[in-house]
């Protein structure tokens, strides 16, 4: 059973455009929602994370929007740059039971110059 569903599988965006990646979860006990960025040959690196007590979190060009009632959250990359080309994974966990991460299937982002 896929605990976290992620879409789209791949995304092509022009430089300067907005990249949007969506995730949905089922377990209402999840209380931590990180986004990871992964370059080829590298391990995932934490990009930004949110907890359900806020609806939005912004760090630089990266914003997480969180909709608790819909059990959905999304990553917005503003002013997308070619260096943002990578695979992005959303994840969810329940921190009071060991913080096991359930990852989405990933989105391959390509930013065209």
């Amino acid at each position: 059973q896929q605990q976290v569903k992620q879409s789209p599988q791949s995304l092509i965006v022009q430089k300067g455009g907005i990249s949007i990646i969506n995730c949905a979860y089922e377990n209402t006990a999840f209380d931590y929602f990180p986004w990871y960025q992964q370059f080829p040959g590298k391990g995932p690196a934490l990009l930004i994370a949110i907890r359900p007590d806020v609806s939005e979190k912004k760090e630089g060009r990266f914003t997480i929007s969180f909709n608790k009632s819909a059990k959905q959250f999304s990553l917005h990359i503003m002013d997308s740059q070619p260096g943002d080309s990578a695979t992005y994974f959303c994840a969810a966990s329940q921190t009071n039971t060991g913080n096991q991460f359930y990852f989405g299937t990933g989105t391959s982002l390509t930013v065209i110059p």
Binding site: G43, P44, N99
Partner: protein
């Protein structure tokens, strides 16, 4: 601060052979995780340690996979005997405390022929 170290970075073995991976977490991090990432998918947790004790190994195929974390620092993951479907990247991650942010190593890419 040094990151999570893993070795080897690449390994090619034949099916039914055995293989071992090594992980050195970030200094002081109490929690250590091993993930399996199959090509095109998100990482899947195999086992989680808190100091040198196993917290969660519910998704570890115990008939062929084993892991240990000696003295609560380094960890090794072993596969014996390997199957074709074990071809994947094996990621190690650590966090400072239970429920804390996870930091990933570069992974070991295993190819079973």
């Amino acid at each position: 601060e040094a990151g999570v170290a893993q070795s080897p970075r690449y390994k090619i073995i034949e099916k039914r052979q055995s293989v071992a991976f090594w992980c050195n977490p970030i200094s002081g991090h109490a929690t250590l995780y091993w993930y399996q990432q199959i090509l095109g998918q998100g990482p899947k947790l195999l086992i989680q340690f808190q100091n040198n004790g196993v917290v969660d190994d519910s998704q570890l195929p115990k008939d062929r996979f084993s892991a240990e974390r000696l003295k609560g620092v380094d960890s090794t993951l072993k596969i014996q005997p390997a199957k074709l479907e074990d071809s994947a990247v094996y990621l190690c991650a650590s966090s400072l405390f239970w429920g804390g942010e996870q930091y990933f190593g570069p992974g070991t890419r295993l190819t079973v022929t």
